[in-house]
């Protein structure tokens, strides 16, 4: 096992800021929450910010002339400033959505459904989350465009040679995940964006599993569209972000219509509000934007580079620990430098559902299933995997508890 003393963050101290992790469990044991790739836990200060918003400043945003409405608007827009700042992106190109899935759907419908024509190609990879394949399939079915899937190597990387061969004159969009939620692979998105742009294609980067865990610089990635979600980065559910090139947002027609997104409405038609509000129809998730803003300030206080260093150390501990479990097969890269915080694995003779159930009895929370990556599951030749995923509050103790429970689990189910 690695030496816990080498870990870059004082996770034990950080855990105290998360009420769920600090609360005693009914059986007196510790909670080993290893499902942060599904959703992160929330620190008290995020809960407080949202609570304070409702107690002190609740009003609808943007339209009111009274003081309270101005205060609500300030707190809401401060959330946008924080989200934009975290990824080094202009605020006018930072659109709030319901989640990352809706952000991708926004691009697929507001851009793809209008711009794609028969024979155009959208290139995705075999390791995309369903949120970055299904919207494109829907739009392709309507426009006659084709969705092409770039294969993944046995090591769990995008097959870059295949991708190079796939991106050509017919390619209109290359949509790729930054860090795989299933394999943990960190993909070379800057290189892929450059490759796509050289062929005149637009790009979308799904940064859902990278923004919470490492420094992400939208300007240096250079993608036309980047999406991420609040609830995986210590913020609340119900809010996601589309970071888009402002020029695209100005050129695109709206996605959803309604209040807030208009400039003028007549019986003959309507004109649109300035960006980013043009893409935010209806009353937005105000408290959620406030919570996201506080989550960003929390991450900035901890330091995205330090979170990354911590998770690399956790990855080293995790890879060693999983090696000690008989009959375990890990999917995805083995090099901590090249992987994020998700670890998918199979245990010989034990179904992932049974692993998940058994581990729960030991206070260890992992996910079992296809992780919304069914094309990848088929490529790996499995129906499902078990997945442990770490975050800034994960400690070596959590990893050791996982290892010990896995060894016990295999004995329990009588695997040879």
């Amino acid at each position: 096992m690695g030496n816990p003393a080498q870990i870059a963050l004082d996770s034990a101290r950080l855990r105290a800021e998360f009420p769920i992790l600090a609360a005693p469990r009914p059986d007196g044991g510790a909670l080993h929450y290893l499902d942060s790739a599904a959703t992160s836990q929330k620190p008290q200060r995020v809960l407080d910010a949202m609570d304070a918003y409702y107690r002190e400043a609740n009003a609808n945003v943007h339209r009111g002339v009274y003081h309270l409405a101005a205060e609500a608007t300030d707190r809401f827009e401060a959330g946008r400033d924080a989200a934009a700042r975290l990824v080094n992106h202009p605020r006018e190109g930072t659109v709030f959505t319901k989640n990352a899935t809706e952000a991708i759907n926004l691009v697929a419908w507001a851009w793809g459904a209008r711009e794609l024509t028969a024979g155009d190609e959208v290139v995705v990879t075999m390791m995309e989350h369903h949120s970055n394949t299904v919207p494109w399939q829907l739009v392709a079915a309507m426009t006659g465009a084709v969705v092409r899937f770039c294969p993944v190597t046995p090591e769990g990387d995008i097959d870059m040679d295949a991708l190079r061969g796939m991106i050509g004159p017919r390619t209109r969009m290359v949509a790729v995940v930054h860090v795989s939620n299933t394999l943990g692979t960190i993909n070379p998105v800057g290189e892929i964006v450059a490759m796509a742009h050289a062929e005149g294609s637009l790009t979308l980067v799904d940064a859902t599993q990278s923004v919470p865990h490492m420094p992400v610089d939208a300007a240096s990635i250079g993608s036309d569209f980047i999406v991420f979600t609040g609830h995986k980065m210590c913020g609340p559910t119900g809010i996601g972000v589309l970071a888009a090139a402002p020029g695209h947002l100005r050129a695109m027609e709206p996605f959803l219509g309604g209040g807030e997104m208009i400039s003028d409405v007549t019986t003959d038609g309507s004109t649109w509000n300035d960006i980013p509000w043009k893409f935010e129809a209806g009353t937005p998730p105000i408290a959620e934007a406030v919570g996201l803003g506080e989550a960003v300030r929390f991450l900035e206080d901890v330091g995205p580079d330090r979170i990354r260093a911590h998770e690399q150390e956790i990855a080293r501990v995790m890879l060693d620990a999983l090696d000690e479990v008989p009959g375990l097969t890990l999917y995805g890269p083995r090099d901590p430098q090249r992987r994020g915080a998700s670890f998918s694995f199979a245990l010989d003779g034990v179904h992932p559902h049974d692993i998940g159930q058994f581990l729960d009895s030991r206070g260890v929370c992992v996910r079992a299933g296809h992780h919304c990556t069914k094309p990848l599951m088929r490529a790996l030749g499995v129906q499902s995997t078990a997945r442990a995923s770490a975050y800034l509050y994960t400690t070596a103790d959590d990893v050791i508890a996982l290892r010990d429970a896995l060894v016990e689990c295999r004995q329990w189910f009588g695997a040879a």
């Binding site: 179904h351 009895s361 079992a368 296809h370 129906q383 329990w412």
Partner: protein, 149 residues
């Protein structure tokens, strides 16, 4: 760790490790293929109907211990029953899984050991996969024979 023992009774682990009625049936009267979208588990179910009875039944596919043991127990509990009896058996098991009936051991046989699954809502679908597949398979059989005759 009473909870875990309650869910995974020895009888379940025994059926999981030594599946009964596993495989496919040559010349089946009806077949269905169903899956659980939550976990991707799948079940192939074949029945052979002779004189209105389930002369044979086989279940195949991959899944967790609960789904595999439930399929194994189903083949034992359903084999030899006439079709209406088999449907009543499935309905009883379904009610037990949803906590709406007390399990009758005479009817369920070893499947009575699955009683504890009712307290784990996420796993109820695992247990029901093959049993509801039998219900669909009998409906499929009746539909095709009605059309044929």
């Amino acid at each position: 760790m009473g909870g875990l023992d309650d869910l995974y009774q020895q009888l379940i682990l025994d059926h999981y490790r030594n599946r009964r009625g596993r495989g496919r049936l040559e010349g089946a009267s009806a077949s269905v293929h169903e899956n659980n979208p939550v976990c991707g588990d799948e079940c192939f179910l074949d029945i052979l109907v002779e004189d209105g009875r389930l002369a044979d039944i086989r279940a195949d596919g991959d899944g967790c211990s609960i789904s595999q043991a439930a399929a194994s127990m189903l083949t034992e509990a359903a084999r030899g029953r006439d079709l209406d009896d088999a449907l009543a058996l499935v309905e009883h098991f379904r009610l037990v899984m949803h906590g709406d009936a007390e399990p009758e051991e005479d009817l369920l046989g070893d499947a009575v050991a699955l009683e504890g699954v009712a307290r784990y809502p996420v796993r109820v679908k695992c247990a029901l996969l093959s049993w509801l597949a039998l219900r669909d398979c009998i409906a499929e059989y009746r539909e095709t024979t009605a059309m044929g005759g």
